[in-house]
């Protein structure tokens, strides 16, 4: 019996050793991974105890966590909710959902990011309750409000960028919605509100500034085509192109015309600068065919087309496709056909030209700060690409300034300031036009670049234009930034 007993005790020893090993694995080796598991209720309950950080614009909190007595311990409250909703998004612990900045910077706001580690040590030492980090945004309240009020009653978006740094100064999308409705802890009410917004034909949930249904940019794309032409070195602003009243697309039976039906100014030929100033379609179509879609696409990609940007909210990539035939290339010459863009992208084009051809990465966050307002992480402007050199940028700028001062974009004219601008009136078959404007000011030392898009013809079907509807909105935004 003794021998068997000894063997049995060895078996029992191994049984216990396996338990030691299993417990060690779970509690030490795998503990972090188990803690991050999305089903871990304890981690979630722990997160409710932390007061979420605020989202701050111009020193004012537009999203903050207010103590409540329910199980989530804090309620997220949004001020000027409909105006800021494209920026903040909403955060709802009851539905475990977050959008916008609330989602993109969730690790910092909820206090679980790696940046929180040292402030956590400080907190343990000082005995303060744990809080998340706050986020300071680059947005400009005056610009945002100007854009929001100007877009009331319209379906569209505005994006304003600071050209030198890429800081986003305004991001508005209408119709908006009240994020407080989606942040309520009553999940039935929140779901009902969401379903209602989702079913709304005006699609208030879309962020038209960086996503949603992308639209052809219309004539605003002409400045990029011109830049592409000048960059080849074979074209200058004074190069001429044929000036017919009608133009048959290559290898096609379709014809295109200028917006007013006749030719682009007097004469058999017209310069590129004039084509921009007057916003003529036919010369730009011819130009596009001559430089070829590859050259246009390369220039477009240098400005950010075909790429999604983390602002830190991810944008939908604007599209200039490959392998276009000549007819399609001609259409893209005046921003129709297969090219589609977000206002963010068009604003980046304007900002790039404003910044002497250097395109900066667009971003909304200036800094992540701790409870004591110390900066935990600062964001500097970073360069995305050099799209053109200074001469090309200046050439296009000159044409744009002329357009605002004397011709097609006068809706954006401001007394005492040189505004460079380009309107766009994009056709959508027999549907209402999509109205665009893009530009920057002051032209010699730009402080802000703007892009405005108004869908559904601005309520005027096919009788509105970028100049009458979109340009005045941009003017108000520029005035707000410049402090007028």
């Amino acid at each position: 019996m003794t021998k068997e007993l000894r063997r049995l005790s060895i078996v029992m020893l191994f049984m216990f050793l396996s338990l030691f090993a299993a417990a060690s694995w779970i509690q030490v080796v795998d503990a972090d991974a188990l803690g991050q598991n999305s089903n871990n209720k304890r981690t979630r309950l722990d997160s409710y105890e932390i007061q979420r950080g605020s989202i701050i614009v111009d020193g004012v909190a537009i999203a903050s966590s207010v103590p409540t007595s329910d199980m989530y311990q804090f309620q997220r409250v949004y001020t000027d909710a409909a105006m800021w909703e494209p920026v903040t998004g909403y955060f709802n612990p009851a539905l475990q959902s977050a959008t916008g900045i609330e989602k993109a910077l969730n690790a910092d706001l909820s206090g679980t990011g790696s940046s929180a580690f040292f402030s956590e040590i400080e907190r343990i030492v000082s005995g303060q309750p744990q809080t998340g980090l706050s986020v300071e945004l680059s947005l400009n309240t005056a610009a945002q409000r100007a854009a929001y009020e100007a877009l009331q009653g319209l379906q569209g978006a505005v994006v304003a960028i600071e050209p030198k740094t890429g800081r986003i100064l305004a991001m508005v999308s209408t119709p908006g919605f009240d994020t407080n409705l989606l942040a309520t802890h009553d999940s039935d009410a929140a779901n009902a509100a969401y379903d209602q917004l989702d079913a709304d034909p005006a699609n208030p949930l879309y962020n038209r500034a960086i996503a949603g249904d992308l639209n052809p940019p219309g004539s605003t794309f002409k400045i990029l085509v011109a830049a592409a032409a000048f960059a080849t070195g074979e074209w200058t602003p004074d190069s001429t192109l044929p000036n017919p009243a009608r133009y048959q697309l290559p290898q096609s039976n379709n014809t295109v015309s200028n917006a007013w039906g006749s030719s682009c100014g007097p004469g058999d030929t017209v310069t590129i600068a004039e084509a921009i100033r007057l916003s003529c379609n036919i010369p730009m179509a011819e130009l596009a065919v001559q430089i070829g879609d590859d050259a246009i696409r390369e220039m477009a990609e240098k400005f950010g087309f075909n790429k999604s940007f983390d602002t830190p909210v991810a944008s939908t990539a604007s599209s200039y496709p490959r392998a276009l035939d000549d007819a399609q290339t001609a259409l893209t010459g005046f921003g129709q056909g297969k090219v589609t863009a977000t206002p963010l992208q068009i604003a980046m084009v304007a900002a790039g030209l404003a910044n002497d051809g250097v395109v900066m990465n667009p971003h909304m966050v200036d800094a992540v700060i701790g409870n004591d307002l110390s900066v935990v992480r600062a964001y500097e402007g970073t360069e995305f690409a050099r799209a053109t050199d200074k001469e090309v940028a200046d050439a296009v700028t000159a044409a744009m300034v002329a357009s605002v001062n004397t011709a097609a974009a006068q809706g954006a004219r401001i007394d005492g300031v040189d505004v460079a601008g380009k309107t766009g009136t994009a056709e959508n078959g027999s549907n209402p036009y999509t109205l665009w404007f893009t530009g920057f000011a002051p032209a010699d030392d730009p402080a802000v670049a703007v892009a405005v898009v108004v869908e559904n013809g601005g309520g005027k079907g096919q009788s509105g234009s970028g100049d009458t509807i979109a340009a005045p909105i941009a003017k108000k935004v520029i005035e707000a930034v410049l402090g007028r």
């Binding site: 019996m1 021998k3 068997e4 000894r6 029992m12 049984m15 216990f16 338990l19 779970i26 509690q27």
Partner: protein, 461 residues
């Protein structure tokens, strides 16, 4: 001549009146003191951590139970001087830690009064300690149990079958193991049945070990028993399977069969029995997984717990996953008594008491608990090694192995070493019948160890 005898008698009398130091009991006193202080400390920390204040009522009750444990100690000083000094303190400490954690979970769920699990556990602890004291006093010679081998066997089987009797059965969605006494107290007769069957197996094996170990056919270098010796083993296997199938109690079935195979091996020394036993277990497991949906479910949970396509994290997978998350939440040193969230896991006070403890006292605490179990089991094996009569050796071995196997099945189940079953963790889990049965095991081990130590040692040559 008569003066010689008188002188001998007086010498013997003088010898008897010399008070030998009771080294074992003194050791036990110190350890018992340590155990009760730690248990009291745990209770206090739970109150400080979870309530922020100290409730003297609970501490008073805990003190009462500590007094009962010391009463058992005093009884041992009188009737069983040579009993093993580790068994009682370890059982007390484990029971105390269990009560502290069950109390903590009651606080988390706001249970008070008689709906609280800790109140019931305290009551059952008192009953168990009383039962242990009674057993130690009344069972002067454990060999008496040998005489009633078959009666214990019958009692064991009856107790196992009791929950199937329609009148007494308490409806439980999972397993038919509960019996209701007067509609007030629910009881698991399977726990006592386990004890009865251990005594039965020990007695039976002592009687029949010769024939079970007899010559058989030699095959593959091992001596295999003949078919007629196989009979009893198959009977036990069938009983275990019947428990698993009809009572849906995977744990008890496995435990009883494992206990029998281990005792069979120790009694006969034949490896073939172990291999046959393992083969039967595997065959039974394969059949059960395919045929019984609840066993199949347990296997899927075990193998694919984190695969959302196989296991629903909000359904069947919720309890094991939250148990693991609780352990991970505790980490190396634990969250501290009263400061974790053990109550998130369903049945945290019974099936998942180990993960609740692991969360609040950490890996270090869990190691300590496992070491306590290891020492407890090793003391039982020690009796098996040192004992001189086969019945005592086998009984002590069987009881110790049962405890070890039960801990392995329970802790292994919640840590995913093996699939989860429905056993209780000895001494820790909330459950009156389990507590009573395990304290009776403590009483038996104390009695047997005392007998072993008091035996005159054989001097050979």
């Amino acid at each position: 001549m008569s003066t010689g005898v008188a002188a001998d008698t007086s010498v013997i009398k003088a010898l008897r009146s010399i008070r030998m130091p009771q080294t074992q009991r003194n050791r036990e006193f110190g350890l018992l003191l340590f155990a009760t202080v730690i248990s009291g400390g745990a209770l206090t920390l739970v109150q400080l951590g979870a309530l922020g204040a100290i409730d003297p009522m609970i501490l008073a009750i805990g003190g009462g139970l500590a007094a009962l444990a010391f009463a058992l100690h005093i009884v041992l000083r009188v009737v069983a001087r040579g009993a093993d000094p580790f068994v009682l303190p370890i059982a007390t400490l484990l029971t105390g830690l269990g009560i502290a954690m069950i109390y903590r979970i009651d606080i988390a769920k706001s249970y008070t009064g008689w709906t609280a699990y800790s109140t019931k556990q305290l009551a059952w602890t008192a009953i168990s300690l009383a039962g242990a004291i009674a057993t130690v006093i009344l069972l002067r010679n454990y060999r008496v149990l040998f005489r009633y081998t078959y009666i214990f066997g019958l009692t064991g089987i009856v107790l196992l079958l009791l929950p199937l009797v329609p009148g007494l059965r308490v409806d439980d969605a999972n397993a038919a193991v509960w019996v209701s006494l007067g509609g007030f107290i629910s009881f698991q007769p399977g726990e006592i049945a386990k004890l009865c069957l251990a005594i039965f197996f020990a007695g039976y094996l002592v009687r029949t070990r010769e024939s079970l170990a007899s010559v058989g056919t030699r095959f593959l270098g091992i001596t295999w028993p003949r078919m007629r010796e196989l009979g009893p083993v198959l009977v036990v296997w069938v009983i275990s399977l019947a428990i698993i199938v009809f009572q849906r109690d995977l744990g008890t079935g496995t435990l009883i069969f494992g206990m029998f195979v281990a005792m069979l091996y120790v009694a006969t020394g034949k490896t073939s029995w172990v291999l046959i036993g393992l083969g039967l277990v595997l065959a039974g497991a394969v059949v059960a997984t395919q045929v019984l949906s609840y066993v199949h479910g347990r296997f899927i949970n075990w193998l694919f717990l984190f695969d959302p396509k196989q296991v629903d994290p909000e359904g069947a997978g919720y309890q094991p996953m939250q148990g693991l998350f609780g352990l991970a939440h505790g980490g190396l040193v634990g969250t501290g008594w009263g400061q974790g969230r053990p109550a998130v896991t369903p049945l945290a006070q019974s099936d998942y008491i180990i993960t609740s403890l692991g969360e609040e006292i950490g890996l270090i605490g869990l190691f300590a608990i496992l070491c306590l179990y290891m020492v407890f089991v090793s003391r039982g094996i020690r009796i098996g090694l040192a004992g001189q009569d086969d019945f005592g050796k086998l009984l002590a071995t069987g009881l110790s192995f049962t405890i070890a196997l039960q801990v392995f099945i329970m802790v292994g189940g919640v840590t995913r070493v093996i699939p989860l079953t429905g056993l209780t963790t000895p001494f820790l889990a909330a459950g009156g019948s389990s507590l009573v049965a395990n304290w009776l095991i403590v009483a038996l081990l104390l009695r047997i160890s005392d007998a072993v130590r008091s035996q005159p040692r054989m001097v050979i040559g």
